[in-house]
Structure formats: C-alpha cells, structure tokens
C-alpha cells in the first residue's frame, strides 16, 4: 500500500513553490465574514445528489470499455497454508477465459490472510467466465496449525514467526511507571480494567479495485476507486512501466473509502500486469469476500488500565498496557491518556501481530479505540466516587471548548432532569432501563500545501473550477463550486466543478480530515485571483477604481453606487474571445487546526433480552467555518452511525482452529441498518468563530460507541468492557449481577 507520505517530495516541492512568491499583504484573500456570506455557511444540497440517487453516477465498478476483460482472484480462505502445485490447465480451457497466471512462486506458502492469500489471477470476456475460470484452478493447499489468528496463539511459546519484525513489535513507553503507581496510593478510587475492541471493517459499499485501460503503446487511463487521485499516476505508471506523465487516473464518484483506498493495492498491481500481458482493458474489482479478507480494517485493541482519582474528581494516576492488534500491520492507538488530563501517567504500547490482514487507516485511526477505553475508565471512576460523570469529565478537561460543548450536549439530551446521575438506574416493571452517557473527541485537521486550483471564466459567463480532488462522499465537488460562487456573488449552479481526474491541477489525498483544509484555501485563492483580474477589466470599462467594485447578486457594481455597474454576463463579455484563467495555491492563513466535539447518547436496555436500543445521539461539533451546513450535518450523522454500528454489532470473526473467516459477508458481519437509527441531534458549534477552513470528518466517529456503553451502565449497571455491546453479553452480565 502506498502511504500518502510517499509523495513527500512532491509536497515539499509544492510547499517551496508556495513560499517562493509571498503575496503582497494587501492582496491577501480573506474569508468573507460569516454573516455576509450568501452561498457558504448555508444548506447547499450536494451537486451530484440527483445523479447518485437516480443511479446515473458512474462509479469505477460501472466502467465498461470496448474490449475489456474481467479479472478475478483465486484466494485461499486459510490464514496460513502450504501451497503445492497449482494447475491452470483446466482454467485456461474454460470458454471465454483469456488469462490465468499464478501469483505465487513455486512452493511459496501463504503466510497471512490477506494479499498473501492470492494464488492466481484469471481474466475472461465475461464475469461469469472469469468465475468459472477461478473455479477450474486446481491447487493443493494445506492449512497450517495453529493458524495464528488470535493474539494468544501469536504470543504462545514456540509460535512461528509471523512478520519479519517478529510477533511483537514497536514497543514504546512513556512516563514513569513507579511514579504513576505511587500516585495511585493517594487516590480515593482506583479502577483496574481491561478494555478490548474487535477488528472493524471499513465496509465500503464499493469494493476496492480499478479498471486499467491499457491497449499497448505508451499511455494508459486508470479508473480507480481512490482517495488520492493525484497520487495515482505514480503508482500505476510504475506497475505499467510507463512514464508517469502518460498515465491518467480518474475517479468520478466513489462508493466509500474511509481510509482504506489511498493506494492501488495488490489488486491494482495485478490489474496492471494483466492489462500489460493482454494489451486490453482490465476490470478488477474485489468481491465482498475478497474485500473482507484483504482490503484492510480498523485494528483491534486490548488495553489494560489502572486509573485513580481523588474525591474532587481529579484524575491523579493512570497506568496503561496496550496491545495494537493490526494483523501483519502495526495497528494504531494514540498514546494515553486520551484527551483527558491525568496528573501522573505511564503507558506501554506494543503491536501484537497475527497472521491476518493488515490494518489500514480507518476514519480517525486509533482514536475510537483509545476513546472507548478512556471514556469507560473516566466513567467507572466517576461512579466509584459517586460523582456525576459529566462533572467528572469537566474536572479533567482543560480546554474550555469542551466545557461549552459538553454542557450543550447535556442540555440537549436532558441530563438535568435525568433521575440517576451518580449511580446506575434500574429497569421498570417491563424490564426496560433508560440511561445516558457521554464522550468527547478531538482531531488535528491539519493540511497539506500541494493543492493547486484553476478557475476559468468564459466570455459567455460560464465558470469552471478545476482540481484533481476526489469526492469520497464528503462533498468536495459541491464545496469547490460553492467557494467560487461565493466569491462572484453567483448561485452554486453557475459554477461547473471539475474534479476526480489526475490530469487536473494537483490535489491532496482525502484522509485525516485534510481535504477541506487543504483545498478550500487554494480554491479561495484562485477565485480571488480571478475576481481581481476580472474586476480590473470592469473597472477600466466603467472608469472606476477596481477596489470600489463588488460582485453581488449576479452583478458587478460600485459598492456605494449600485447604479454604476453591469451584469455578470456583461462583465464576462469584456473578456472578448479568450477565457480568463487564474490559478491559486494553498494559503496557510486561510486554514485552521484542531476540532473538538462532545457527544451524548441515550439508550434503553431491555434486561429480558439484552437488547440495547439507542434512542438518541447528540453531537456538538466545531469545524471553523461551516462552509456547507448540510454536508457537515450529513458527515456528522455518518460518523455517529459508524460509531453506533461499531458499538452494537461490528466484529470480524475468524475460526481460531482453522483460520477461516466466518464473517466474510454482510449477513455474518453485521452493520447497523435503518431499524437501529436513533434520533440524531447534530449541533454545529457556532460559538467557534475561527475564520478558517478545516476538515472534521474524523472527529464525529470517535466517542459515540463509548458514550453508548456508558449509557448502558447508567441505565442498569451493566459495564461491558469488550465491544461490541451484543445482547448475549448484556444478558449474561445482567444475570451475573442479579446473583
């Protein structure tokens, strides 16, 4: 997988270029004050919404090219296996099959579940023929035992080595364990607990893959379901052995990425090899089973914690030993304590490897895991001290933003009137108990300096904005158009956005909530430059100074004397025959960092069945300028839904004896559906007056499941420390409590 950092050189070069030409101070673009905005800071329906809901939007999966073949993979279901002779004779004889090649060298075994389990690639004229070809491949595969799919198996004495780094790697510690242990002595309450989280899949509705349009010669176009269109040509050119400039990557629409689609992946490499061998376009999209086996995941985690607090609710001591469970990957987990202030803390983190698919970035990598453990621990200490868990949180959060947001969330969810705040409640006569829980989140929302944007004004008044950025669902297509529309006092519909194509000006990847913070400043800069240039033409025609002109309501006019001016079309007609093109680049002063959120969840727990029903989720979230309030709310809803689904259902299941994945479809890998949806109350924190562009998509995904778990405890006293909160666990714990 290509880490986004592999383009570091490119990024550095762009940064140098950006710094080489410091703009004159008086020409600096500045964001329009929010109250004066006419397009932004409003509800802007997504421009591609109608296309998407009517099925007209073309995804990578939908690409059909003349002469195209369909490729499929032969994948072993076992985590580790010896592979004997692979026979392709029968597969090659299947009518329609045009290609069948082994991926493995002779005697090369399967060392882990994931990319290493791919044995053969088959390509055929139709998907059906390709599948028949896959079925006709004969391979002698002998599963190895133990399969090394659990941390216990990997850590057992004499366990075979899983990765080159061993079965445990990347150990690090922070703080002084003796000091932290000593600090526990002075505490009024100490909680010792182990919190575990399962491996979660991204579950992109569109599986991973690409269509490589290569027919021989020295150039190619690749349709790729990608979170990094600009970065695509580098990788695909390498795989196709073509000059980078001759490879174009296109991603018009995307069916989800969530951090798992930065690179071409092995599927991309194999598609390129097949296309090269055949000189024909190749369609290679993973099946759902392949996707679950090899397309990455959120690492699991096991966190052993000892925490102590004093009567005043202050967190005094914390000791954490945590395992990141990222398969053959490193896994991710921020260093504890997460968000909260703890006087003395010590932690030791390590990666425990298993012979399973590597984790990848997934929406707020590591944070939901850390958040669950820390929010649970804070909650447990609050109840142990008979302190209101809201007050306990406020006592240990120094940033005043959290105080404002938590109090708002508490007000919305009805915490004041809630009957049991410092001890858990009990079920009613029918067996149902109500509870409320809280959690907070943070995200850095940094930026990258490489975005370059072009704005083009045509003499007929039409307007284009171009940047290679992909719209992975966050609404970047709509955003780039809206920023330009705002600049020119036009409706969004007056602007044509061109995105999702590597032949357009450079953009950034979509990951780590950097897209908006990196692209919006460059769009603003380009729009500002275009407006300045057009204003100069209009000023000359009107015989006024350019800086007296304003663009508003479809006109260009003198600010204090609107009778002097002309229509937008009239202004553009001044351009004569040629369009006006202006480019813009990333401007750091237009970007801001660090977002905050607070969430509250209200649940009903049925102690007769163990069902947790989430009734309501409240999220208060800041994000600098709320460019598109509708898109923001929908991002936040999505984050809440993902957290709810993670908290209630999601869990990868691999049989520990045979190493076969049992949850390899959407029947067994359960995700929340319409029936599980609570009422969502999403509050954009308008008290955040930072006039800055920043992304925030990671943050809403972080604390929801922890808040739900805390609400379950508040309802009935059942504390689940191993996610997800499935009915079997709730019921078993409830009955233990009754004994």
């Amino acid at each position: 997988m290509t880490a986004p950092d592999s383009n570091a050189a490119q990024i550095a070069a762009a940064a140098a270029a950006a710094n080489a030409l410091p703009p004159a101070a008086d020409e600096r673009p500045e964001w329009t004050p929010r109250a004066e905005m006419t397009v932004l800071n409003r509800e802007i329906p997504r421009l591609d919404g109608p296309q998407k809901v009517t099925g007209r939007a073309r995804y990578t999966h939908d690409v059909r090219l003349p002469g195209m073949v369909y490729a499929r993979l032969v994948v072993t279901p076992y985590a580790r296996a010896d592979v004997g002779r692979i026979s392709l004779t029968a597969a090659r004889k299947v009518p329609g099959v045009v290609y069948a090649e082994t991926v493995k060298a002779d005697d090369e075994g399967v060392r882990y579940q994931g990319y290493d389990g791919i044995l053969v690639v088959v390509a055929a004229e139709t998907p059906e023929a390709a599948e028949d070809g896959v079925r006709a491949v004969r391979a002698k595969v002998t599963p190895l035992r133990p399969p090394l799919v659990t941390p216990e198996q990997a850590l057992a004495d004499g366990a075979p080595q899983i990765t080159r780094r061993g079965n445990v790697s990347s150990e690090s510690s922070r703080g002084d364990s003796d000091a932290a242990a000593a600090a526990l002595e002075g505490c009024d309450a100490v909680v010792e607990a182990t919190y575990t989280l399962p491996v979660q899949h991204h579950v992109c509705l569109e599986t991973h893959g690409c269509v490589v349009d290569y027919r021989g010669g020295d150039s190619a176009t690749v349709y790729h379901s990608s979170q990094y269109v600009t970065g695509g040509p580098q990788e695909f050119a390498q795989y196709l052995e073509l000059p980078r400039g001759n490879v174009r990557v296109i991603c018009e629409h995307m069916g989800g990425g969530f951090g798992s689609k930065f690179g071409a992946g092995t599927e991309g490499l194999l598609a390129c090899q097949t296309a090269k061998a055949l000189g024909r376009p190749v369609h290679l999209m993973l099946t759902r089973e392949d996707e679950f086996l090899m397309a990455g995941n959120r690492s699991g985690s096991k966190q052993r914690m000892v925490g102590g607090a004093t009567k005043d609710g202050k967190l005094r001591a914390l000791l954490v030993e945590a395992d990141r469970l990222g398969g053959v990957g490193q896994g991710s987990l921020p260093t504890p304590p997460y968000i909260y202030d703890v006087e003395t803390s010590w932690s030791r983190l390590r990666s425990v490897h298993t012979a399973t698919d590597s984790n990848r970035a997934q929406r707020s990598p590591g944070h939901p895991q850390a958040s669950f453990a820390m929010e649970s621990l804070v909650d447990e200490l609050a109840y142990a001290l008979s302190i209101d868990p809201l007050a306990m949180r406020l006592a240990n959060l120094s940033d005043p933003v959290y105080h404002r947001q938590l109090q708002r969330a508490a007000r919305e969810i009805g915490w004041d009137a809630h009957p049991h705040k410092t001890a858990h409640g009990a079920p009613d006569a029918d067996g149902r108990a109500l509870g409320i829980g809280f959690g907070v989140s943070t995200w850095g929302s940094s930026s990258r300096p490489d975005a370059i944007v072009e704005v083009r004004i045509h003499p007929d008044g039409s307007l284009e904005v171009s940047n290679a950025v992909q719209d992975i669902g966050q609404g970047s297509r709509t955003l780039v158009a809206a920023i330009v529309a705002e600049e020119f006092g036009l409706p969004v519909s007056a602007v044509t956005p061109r995105i999702g194509d590597s032949s357009l000006p450079t953009s950034v990847y979509s990951g780590g909530s950097i897209t908006t913070g990196s692209v919006a400043p460059a769009v603003k800069d380009a729009a500002f430059n275009a407006r300045t240039a057009l204003a100069a033409r209009v000023a000359t025609a009107l015989g006024v100074e350019p800086d007296t002109l304003v663009f508003r309501g479809g006109r260009v006019e003198v600010r204090d004397d609107p009778s002097v001016g002309m229509s937008w079309k009239g202004a553009c007609a001044l351009l004569g025959g040629d369009p006006l093109t202006a480019s813009g680049k990333y401007r750091d002063h237009l970007h801001g960092e660090r977002v905050h959120g607070a969430q509250a969840a209200k649940v009903s727990v049925d102690v007769l069945t163990g069902r947790v029903r989430v009734l309501r989720m409240v999220c208060v979230q800041d994000q600098g300028i709320p460019f598109n309030r509708m898109a923001l709310r929908s991002q936040i809803n999505g984050g809440l839904i993902q957290a709810l689904s993670y908290g209630l259902f999601e869990e990868r299941v691999i049989d520990p004896i045979h190493g076969v994945m049992l949850s390899d479809d959407l029947e067994a890998y359960k995700i929340a559906g319409a029936q599980e949806m609570p009422e969502f109350t999403v509050i954009l924190d308008d008290d955040d007056d930072r006039q800055a562009a920043m992304g925030m998509a990671e943050a809403p995904n972080i604390p929801g499941h922890g808040a739900i778990a805390n609400a379950v405890y508040n309802a009935c006293g059942v504390r689940v420390r191993d996610m997800p909160l499935t009915p079997d666990k709730i019921l078993t714990k409830w009955l233990e409590m009754q004994r």
């Binding site: 102690v607 069945t609 004896i657």
Partner: protein, 328 residues
Amino acid sequence: MNAFAWQRPGTVAQAAALLPSDVDDRSAALMAGGQDLLTELRNHLVEPERVVSLKGVAGLDALRFESDGSLVIGALVTLERLAADAQVRARLAVLAEAALSVGSPQIRAAGTVGGNLNQRPRCWYYRNEAMVCLKKGGDECFAQSGMNKYNAILGGGPSYIVHPSDLAPALVALSAEATLVSPRGARTLKLEDFYKLPSEVGPQRETVRAGDEVMTEVRVPAPAPGMRSTYAKFKERGSYDWALSAVALCLWTSGGAIADARLVLGGVAPKPWRTPSTEALLKGRVVDDETCRLAGVEALRGAAPLADNGYKIPLTQGLLTRALRSLS
C-alpha cells in the same frame, strides 16, 4: 455459481418428475423465489446441473379461508402477501407476525412460503464452502467446539444447527399440515412431523422430504374459538436477521386463567421445538410473574448450551415472558 440448465415446468407433476428422488442426488434443485437457493448456488454449497423453477406452475398461489375456518396457503404465496393479509392478521396473528419478521421487504416480496419452510440452515460453517462439516458430508461438527454463539441449545447433536425458518414455529404452533407431491403420489403430514432432528435423520437433512417431493400447500386447521396468538422473535439486528430465539405462542383463556396453550420455540433447536410439558403447566394458571418464571424453566428444561450460546436460555425465557404478558 456454476452454469446450469433452467427448467420451467407448467405443472406440479412435471416439476416432481424433473427432480431426483434421492435427497443425496444434488443434480437438480427446485427453486421458488430463490432467496435461499441463490445464496447456496453463489457460495457453491450446491452445484446442480439443472434448476427447476416452480414459478411457471399455476395454482400454487392460493391464500384463502375455507368455510370450516381452515386456511389454505399455496406454496408460492409470498411472505409479503401472507404478512399483509387482513384476515390472516386478524385470525392467525402468530403467522402474520412471523411472516413480517422475515428478512427485509425485498426478501419478503420474493420469498415464498414453500421456500421458507424448506430453506437450508444458516450455520456459518455450513455457509462457508471451505468448511466441510457433518452437514456437508464431512466428519466433524465445527460449531460444536468452535464459534457457536448462534447454534442450538436444545435437540443438538451431532449437528447443532438451528432451523432458520420463522414460519415453521408459527405453523407448528397452529397444528398446520403440509402436502407433498411426488411421482409416487401425494401425502399430507403434520408440519410437526415434517421436521426432524439430526439424531433422527442424520446431520445432512432437516426434514423427511424426499428429493422429488414438491410441497404444494400448507393447511392451517381452524383454531378452537377464542385463540389469541403472537410470534416474539429476537434478532440481533433489526433490519434483517434470523432469530437468535423466537417464541410462537397460541393461548386460550377463560375467566382470567389459561385454558389451553400451544408453544413452539424457534432459533434454539434444529427443528421447531415443541414443549408439551410447558403447555400442560400453563393450563389453569393466570399469567403472573410466577407463571412466567415456571414456564420459562419448564420450556428450557434439558437445554444443553455450547460454550458461547448459554445466553439463549434467559433470552428465550425473556421472550416467553413477553409473549405471555402480551396475550394476557
């Protein structure tokens, strides 16, 4: 799925004649709505050379109450139609509720009654092609010592599947009968006797159906007057899911006490699980906490959970309590 020949007979007799009589001969498969069969084909659990569609057979879509109060349900009646029928909802609530609890609207629109009653199990080892367990002719039940959260707590061994059909417990509670037609003629049997445990018919089958028998209709006799009924199904996920446990309950009361009861459990055993001793216990009692408790203990008597499915005992007891209370 593999390529197959598509056969579309026009009569039941023609359909039956196209099927091999031996259940172990999988060269042809019968298909109604395809909601289960297609998943089996896709996962290569069956690889028939021929698929025989029932959809061209006329006369299998009756849904009517006879003058004697019995209900006739043709095998091709969809779950959607059954769930929405006003008469069925008013007179046989347990059946309408069971039909409505199945899958998603899409599944109910295509899925039929015959297909629902004859569907194959969902055990995730069975559904995974790589795992050749007892049910697929292998020599081990992987669930027994493996991941068995969803498996049987009653009547298990040597296979521990739970029967997946939601209609089956409801129809068994209603004392329904099914008619099966083969080239040898027709036979009608109680649905209760149609389903069998793995210990009775071996781990590879769930019913006594011969390979060439087509289920043509199900008949629900008129219930004794005054019946109230309900189907309490618990699914882990609301949107579409099979039962972790389900309770089909028909109750007759007189003077505040239970005069008679039929109780069948779903999702906990390889077949719809009747518990006559619980029905006997309920007779003459009023529905109160003690009755619910005693009935719960009796209904789960003999339960032998595996490592991960012990929760099904209290879950089923909770559902039974809810069902009893909702009808009293």
